[in-house]
């Protein structure tokens, strides 16, 4: 073939090995996350909250359940940093121990919900057809449950306990994740690297877990982060209604329960304020971190 009848000109092949400096994926993600100030603030706040909850037994100046009725509703002071409650217990110490409970409920319920949702969503999205239809109709059914009433009924029938709370949260909240993951899988399974994996003879399980799932992790991590905040809020609401974590175990929600009398509101502003503030700051921080992760894990960063 001469060069006249072809637009392709043979040229010596030059290896272009001159690449920019090596940038691993995690560093790109980290840089992106770092640029989002709110997310960083959220992460710092969350770290402080989580670490102090973990170290509660060593940090807390008082026994969280130690009652001193002569010290009821004391304002913040050198001895009681954030004041005392209606039974004379130290609010700061209780907040630390309540944080353990609330965070534990939030993280455990998140792990349960994300695991169920990711597995079912991945199967539905990857296999499609009848499997997909069955799983997604199940999702519709679960979403249609009036969850608050169901939770109240469950708790009314069985004794409320932390593990039942976690279980019912997980079983009622995996649906959002399932829909999200299914959507991701529907898109990603069409990618050419998935087709390539199929032509190589890779098994379906390998393709789902090794090829597609790592690329769907971004949205899943974001959903998981936001879910923890949501579950903490839900736990607070149920505990506030007396259906969640039972006294004397402290949770941020049930601390608010005892703070709702008019007397407390008028004369002891610190009692409802600090548990409420903890819930607020924690949930807000989770949301900020979630938003930051959403940007940082955006797969578009990797393309082009």
């Amino acid at each position: 073939m001469t060069s006249k009848d072809s637009v392709i000109v043979d040229q010596p092949f030059v290896a272009q090995d001159q690449l920019g400096s090596h940038r691993p994926l995690w560093r790109i993600t980290l840089t992106k996350f770092w640029q989002n100030r709110l997310a960083v603030i959220g992460l710092v706040l969350l770290s402080i909250i989580i670490i102090s909850a973990l170290l509660a037994p060593w940090i807390a100046p008082h026994d969280p359940n130690w009652q001193n009725l002569r010290m009821r509703l004391q304002p913040p002071s050198a001895e009681f940093w954030l004041g005392t409650d209606h039974l004379g217990r130290d609010i700061f110490s209780r907040l630390l121990f309540a944080g353990r409970v609330s965070l534990f409920v939030g993280f455990s319920a998140m792990l349960g919900a994300i695991t169920i949702g990711t597995t079912l969503g991945a199967i539905a999205g990857y296999y499609g057809g009848r499997v997909d239809a069955f799983i997604m109709r199940t999702v519709d059914v679960v979403i249609s449950f009036p969850s608050i009433f169901l939770l109240i009924t469950l708790v009314a029938i069985f004794q409320p306990s932390i593990d039942k709370l976690i279980l019912s949260f997980a079983l009622l909240s995996w649906t959002g994740t399932a829909r999200l993951v299914r959507g991701e899988f529907l898109t990603l399974k069409q990618r050419e690297y998935v087709l390539a994996a199929r032509t190589l003879g890779m098994s379906n399980m390998s393709i789902i877990f090794r090829q597609i799932l790592p690329n769907a992790m971004g949205p899943i991590i974001v959903a998981a982060t936001l879910a923890v905040g949501g579950f903490i809020l839900a736990e607070s609401a149920l505990s506030f209604l007396g259906l969640g974590v039972q006294p004397p175990t402290a949770s941020w929600g049930n601390m608010l329960t005892n703070a709702q009398s008019l007397n407390v509101f008028r004369n002891a502003w610190w009692y409802p304020t600090f548990p409420g503030l903890m819930i607020f700051i924690t949930v807000l921080s989770f949301n900020f971190v979630g938003d930051g992760l959403r940007d940082a894990l955006d797969p578009k960063v990797l393309e082009r």
Binding site: Y193, A196, M202
Partner: protein
């Protein structure tokens, strides 16, 4: 099977010519994608992406497939490699019918037929290093372990002109041409006999295209590879192919050796396609440009008779009613057109 074939089929004559057994033989292959609609989501039609196509690929050759976007050439490639389930017809690879094998029995086939994909930005998993991507063929087939696998990966990278020291980098750190070479290395890993290249250079800059084409040609010589090369760029196909098939709306319109096709195209569609190639030189003598009227009809509702009759400048009444079959009009030159000969299919 030969009883059911029309006398003058491209498969039969191939055998009659007494050449070596074809590496790939495609018989009346159809791939129809169902369209669901209505309240009850019943099937209300189908997109006939590949509609009754027969041809062979001979060992060591490069068969080019050209056609407009949406003519079904990519669907054909993906059906041949069993990414799509064929609706009907046969795919015979190396003497074995693989058209109905369940996925679990395709292992051997998967080793011998590989694919190079169009989009180098989507064909490599962005979350994996090059070393991981190139170890996947071996992992999937349970071949080579540990150190030997790593050596193979280095060797593959060298074969496609990349420095093995870059293997711990991620796809996003490479250029389009480099990524496409990694894709070729992956296709090469299992030592396949046939590589289906689905528009492997159309996403690349022209200057990079020739590099990648040259690599493909070098590898073909070195490993005695057979290519099915799908493209819409006529110059690229002309450069690399031995024979060229022209597709239109899911059908094979013309199939001929490269020189034959370019020097004397028979089908009006091929003539129109070739007349659209820009002249390489202003003094070059060319037949006048043939402009096709109208758009590509929908493959969900292809025209009756010859699918090309709605746009064909030479269409007759016969073309509107009867579907022409692919027949040999000159040595190894196959055309599906009523202008040449009388043979028509029953329908």
């Amino acid at each position: 099977m030969s009883d059911s074939m029309p006398n003058n089929s491209p498969l039969q004559s191939f055998d009659a010519q007494g050449q070596a057994q074809p590496l790939l033989r495609v018989e009346n292959l159809k791939k129809h994608f169902p369209i669901y609609g209505g309240l009850l989501k019943r099937q209300i039609g189908s997109v006939k992406a590949v509609d009754d196509i027969s041809f062979v690929v001979r060992p060591g050759e490069t068969l080019g497939l050209v056609g407009e976007s949406g003519c079904g050439k990519s669907s054909l490639g993906r059906t041949l490699i069993r990414l799509y389930e064929p609706s009907s017809g046969k795919i015979v690879f190396d003497g074995h019918d693989v058209s109905n094998l369940p996925e679990s029995k395709l292992r051997g086939f998967r080793q011998q037929v590989q694919m190079v994909f169009q989009d180098p930005y989507s064909s490599l998993n962005p979350r994996k290093t090059i070393a991981t991507i190139l170890s996947e063929p071996f992992a999937a087939q349970g071949l080579y372990k540990g150190k030997e696998r790593l050596e193979r990966i280095d060797h593959l990278l060298q074969r496609v002109g990349l420095n093995p020291s870059l293997k711990n980098r991620y796809p996003h750190e490479f250029s389009g041409g480099q990524r496409q070479r990694i894709g070729i290395a992956r296709a090469l890993a299992l030592n396949p006999k046939l590589i289906i290249a689905d528009e492997p250079v159309s996403a690349l800059d022209v200057s990079i295209q020739s590099q990648v084409l040259n690599i493909l040609e070098d590898l073909q010589d070195e490993f005695k590879l057979t290519y099915l090369f799908i493209a819409h760029d006529l110059a690229v196909v002309k450069h690399i192919s031995d024979r060229i098939g022209v597709m239109y709306l899911g059908k094979m319109m013309e199939l001929a050796p490269k020189r034959e096709l370019y020097s004397s195209p028979k089908h009006p569609y091929t003539q129109a396609l070739l007349s659209a190639v820009p002249k390489a030189h202003p003094d070059e003598v060319r037949p006048d440009r043939i402009l096709l009227k109208g758009d590509l009809p929908s493959p969900a509702n292809p025209p009756a008779g010859c699918v090309f009759h709605t746009r064909c400048p030479k269409a007759t009444e016969q073309c509107r009613q009867r579907t022409p079959v692919l027949q040999e009009v000159a040595n190894d030159h196959w055309v599906a057109c009523h202008l040449y000969g009388e043979t028509t299919s029953e329908q």
